[in-house]
């Protein structure tokens, strides 16, 4: 069971990590898709503006109107007013601006060094100190005798990356930036898509767009903002996912436990201490006082689902688990009943032994050791052995002798139900017989067994064995037994098997006999 649990826990952890990883990747993918879409839109817009500027310049250059005439000025004015990103349009002869309009004064912009001179004759100056007007760095393009100045900041301000720290690069040269000194890495140094910059706690994204002009967009965002965007959805998904996983694993565990072979289940139950002990009171038939209890193993497979000892004890015998069950029951008894066993000189607990317990002296040693550790006298613990066990061999009998020598009373359980030669009754020194319920049931019914029980009682008397009647359910059975000097009994008439807690309550109500056996008077001590 432990191994299985470990595997299950490891599985849950693995799945949780996988879910976390998946959500992280999905968040990144969502961010990539979002930022990629923004970048694509921005790239398209940039490209469109530049292509349009170039077309406008070509159109102006191809005009046949007289230069700097009213008609020419109107043509330039119409081109500029339709394009808010255009800050000026000028008409030039060589390095001399002849006329123009816009926000740049008459001398015009004459940067000392072009950034690009294209084969087509288009010449371009990227934004820089030499194209700065009033603190705004303009992108300048000239073709033939006209030039156009564009404010690239308009791209980022009105564009989809508003609010982010971003830079727009055209042909490997910075075209626009949302601010100065952003300390953004150059596009070439970045992989496409998202890059985690752990050192600076930010996510850096690079997107490229190159249908006509190679455009790169570099943007940074603090990781916190990234999480702010995706954490709520991711958390909900994670919780739901984990709940589903846990539910699934629990269902799987329950199913697999049912599917486990019974011996394996029993082994798991032993390991998990889930074999419980119930106590059926043994009473003095004359007084009704409780003199002891039979400890009965109970196996609760699931809460409320019990497996009968008649089923699992034989199974435990077959699969060699009975010794462990016996020791487990012993430990529980000493824990549950330790105080009563120590305090009372009368109160005894009967422990059922299996054949395996008598194969070596291991059990006897363990028993003595534990009793000693618990401070309980061996006389307080009686051992019940079935007839079938006695059949085995001489070794078994030697163990019984050993156990009696250690101080334990040995009781033959279910006497008369197993095949028995009865010869052992002479060979072995025993302390008591348990009269099986099947014989007690027959009392007062005139059944055939009614005769048998009488013979059993006579035989026990003649052998000097004590007797305990099992399965007493009616008062007339008590009377009948008392008439024949059967002194002890157990059964539903006195009390069903009870949990330790209930048994203590039962004893508090009924009291227990404290007087030594075989004395006439019985004191009743309330505990």
């Amino acid at each position: 069971m432990l191994g299985f649990t470990l595997v299950a826990v490891a599985g849950v952890l693995l799945v949780s990590v996988s879910v976390a990883w998946l959500l992280w990747r999905m968040s990144l993918a969502a961010e990539e898709a979002r930022a990629g879409e923004l970048a694509r839109a921005l790239g398209l817009r940039t490209e469109q503006i530049l292509v349009d500027a170039r077309a406008t310049l070509e159109r102006l250059d191809g005009l046949t109107v007289e230069r700097c005439s009213a008609e020419h000025l109107v043509a330039m004015q119409d081109a500029a007013i339709a394009r808010p990103h255009i800050r000026t349009i000028g008409h030039w002869r060589a390095a001399e601006r002849l006329c123009g309009l816009g926000f740049v004064g008459p001398p015009g912009l004459r940067p000392a060094r072009a950034d690009r001179i294209y084969e087509s004759g288009v010449i371009a100056w990227w934004p820089g100190p030499q194209t700065e007007v009033g603190g705004v760095r303009l992108f300048l393009m000239r073709y033939g005798d006209h030039d156009i100045a564009i404010d690239p900041g308009m791209l980022l301000e009105t564009g989809p990356v508003r609010g982010a720290h971003a830079e727009l690069w055209l042909e490997g040269l910075r075209l626009a930036s949302t601010g100065e000194n952003l300390d953004l890495p150059q596009p070439e140094s970045l992989a496409l898509g998202l890059t985690l910059d752990h050192a600076n706690g930010r996510i850096v994204s690079r997107y490229s767009h190159a249908s006509v002009l190679p455009i790169d967009i570099v943007a940074v965002e603090p990781i916190g903002r990234f999480w702010g965007r995706y954490l709520p959805a991711a958390s909900i998904a994670a919780v739901l996912g984990l709940a589903l996983i846990v539910g699934w694993v629990v269902a799987l565990l329950r199913y697999s436990r049912r599917q486990m072979s019974p011996p394996t289940q029993l082994r798991e139950a032993l390991a998990a201490n889930r074999i419980q002990v119930h106590y059926q009171p043994v009473v003095d038939l004359r007084t009704g006082a409780c003199v002891g209890a039979e400890a009965l193993a109970r196996w609760e497979v699931e809460p409320g689902e019990w497996i009968s000892p008649e089923v699992f004890i034989p199974m435990a015998e077959r699969s060699g688990l009975i010794a462990r069950i016996t020791l487990s029951v012993l430990s529980t008894v000493l824990r549950d009943m330790g105080d009563m066993l120590r305090d009372s000189r009368e109160f005894c607990v009967n422990l059922n032994l299996g054949s395996e317990d008598l194969l070596g002296n291991h059990f006897a040693q363990a028993l003595s050791k534990r009793l000693e550790a618990a401070g309980v006298a061996p006389q307080r613990l009686k051992l019940e052995i079935t007839e079938r066990v006695l059949l085995n061999d001489d070794d078994t009998r030697a163990r019984i002798v050993d156990l009696r020598r250690r101080g334990h009373a040995v009781i033959i359980d279910d006497f008369g139900t197993g095949y028995s030669s009865l010869s052992y009754l002479e060979k072995l020194e025993l302390d008591a017989l348990k009269i099986d319920k099947s014989f007690v049931d027959g009392i007062g019914t005139g059944a055939v067994t009614g005769g048998v029980i009488g013979h059993i009682i006579e035989m026990a008397d003649s052998l000097g064995l004590g007797m305990v009647a099992e399965g007493i359910e009616r008062a007339e059975q008590v009377d009948w037994l008392l008439q024949r000097d059967v002194r002890y009994g157990q059964g539903h008439f006195f009390g069903r098997p009870l949990s330790a807690e209930d048994f203590h309550a039962f004893v508090r109500a009924k009291g227990i006999a404290v007087a030594p056996r075989r004395t006439s008077g019985v004191e009743v001590l309330s505990v």
Partner: protein
């Protein structure tokens, strides 16, 4: 350094806005009489053969470079003379812009036309297409040559703050002196065409190299034809 430029005359005429100096000096308006100007020996230690004047239409703002020993030095001196005479010139800050724009303009106008040009920092060389050449011994501009010059004239229109030097070349057939004279006349014909047909307002210098700077061997008619050529050089005038 010897000069055949009559600086004195140039400076004297400068005040009269006849800035061009030279051997062929002039104005467009006066009747086209051939003017013969004596070469002035600037540095007396070098003497030069008197030259036969070219019977030609007068070119404004033009000189003929006669000393082929150090053409660049002579052109530098001429540029300085032009600046001293207040010819249109560029402010130093505008030089980069001017050259970039000139390069872009040449790309726009001459790209794919066969007129070859290359920029060397602040200088541009133009070479007319290989097919446009002079007939042997001829100074006549054929149709192909005129078409190429039309392209050049339009391309450099407006870029007046320069010294346009026109370099004529011949093949190696015939006597050196004759060839030199032919090469001068070829360059002059080109310069005159640009000024007359395209109103190129730049200052002009004519250089006749003769056969001294061939671009091909003179072994085959094709190679000789390639050597019979005119190249143009544009140097900005910076104040």
């Amino acid at each position: 350094m010897s000069m055949r430029i009559c600086l004195g005359l140039m400076l004297a005429l400068g005040a009269m806005n006849l800035t061009g100096c030279a051997w062929l000096v002039a104005q467009r308006e006066p009747p086209p009489e051939p003017i013969v100007v004596e070469s002035v020996v600037v540095e007396p230690e070098r003497t030069v053969e008197p030259r036969v004047p070219i019977q030609a239409k007068i070119l404004p703002h033009a000189i003929l470079v006669l000393d082929l020993e150090d053409v660049d030095a002579e052109l530098d001196l001429y540029r300085q003379a032009l600046l001293d005479a207040d010819r249109p010139a560029l402010a130093p800050d505008d030089l980069g812009y001017f050259m970039d724009v000139l390069q872009a303009r040449l790309l726009q106008r001459l790209g794919g036309t066969g007129v070859d040009f290359r920029r060397e920092d602040d200088r541009v060389w133009l070479r007319l297409p290989a097919g446009s050449s002079f007939d042997s011994g001829s100074v006549r501009l054929d149709g192909e040559m005129r078409a190429a010059l039309d392209l050049v004239g339009k391309a450099i229109a407006g870029f007046d703050q320069v010294l346009l030097s026109v370099h004529g070349h011949t093949d190696a057939t015939g006597p050196l002196e004759v060839n030199r004279r032919i090469s001068e006349q070829r360059a002059l014909a080109v310069a005159r065409y640009l000024v007359d047909e395209h109103h190129v307002a730049a200052s002009v210098a004519i250089v006749g190299h003769g056969p001294l700077n061939p671009v091909a061997s003179n072994d085959t008619p094709e190679e000789r034809a390639r050597n019979r050529r005119v190249e143009l050089r544009i140097d900005p005038l910076v104040r």
